[in-house]
């Protein structure tokens, strides 16, 4: 996978309608007409989004069936997940720091309660 392939995946995902289309396809394959319905979009507008998703390899369209259903392809998402793994330690560290702070806060409160009792 080249860097540009990952860029194409990220660019395709940078749109709420395209992400909603993927979420719909996660529930099973669908035709362009079925995909257009919930968005109150014209068929050409939906087709344009589908082309972006198709070029990024995030969906495939059946060639044989007349209604050409769209299907989710998860391989590019797996590549995004692999890319993200390198950064996981950063948000887990942030969570650890927050967790530590909350514990310190609680300990301090307990100390204050003890002070009051004395």
């Amino acid at each position: 996978m080249t860097a540009d392939r990952l860029s194409a995946t990220f660019a395709a995902l940078a749109d709420p309608t395209r992400r909603a289309i993927l979420a719909r396809l996660a529930g099973g394959e669908a035709s362009v007409k079925e995909l257009a319905e919930p968005f109150k979009m014209t068929l050409p507008a939906v087709s344009k989004h589908l082309k972006v998703l198709e070029r990024a390899g995030l969906i495939v369209r059946a060639r044989d069936a007349q209604w050409r259903p769209c299907r989710l392809e998860a391989a590019p998402l797996k590549d995004v997940a692999s890319w993200l793994e390198e950064y996981r330690r950063f948000w887990e560290q942030s969570f650890d720091r927050l967790n530590q702070y909350l514990h310190e806060l609680r300990d301090k409160e307990h100390e204050n309660e003890s002070d009051h009792k004395q």
Copy 2:
């Protein structure tokens, strides 16, 4: 987090130079000058990329220090990871299917070997 925030994150990540800047900052904070060096880019070109990353909340720039070092902020990446989780089962399924196919292939080869021995 709104859908647009996730779109801004994906758009910011849809560029190999910006991802390389994040990779550099994963190793520690750096000044604009330090970030510009490996890319052989002009400072204004790097600044433009940094602004995109900053608006997406992927980096923060120190306000006090004169050299205003950039630091990685992982929170938006964590949101991307959460979004991705919904799709994990799809690429794991694909892997399971490939794995199953390879096992079937191996079993078939073993059968063929047994046939030859008889």
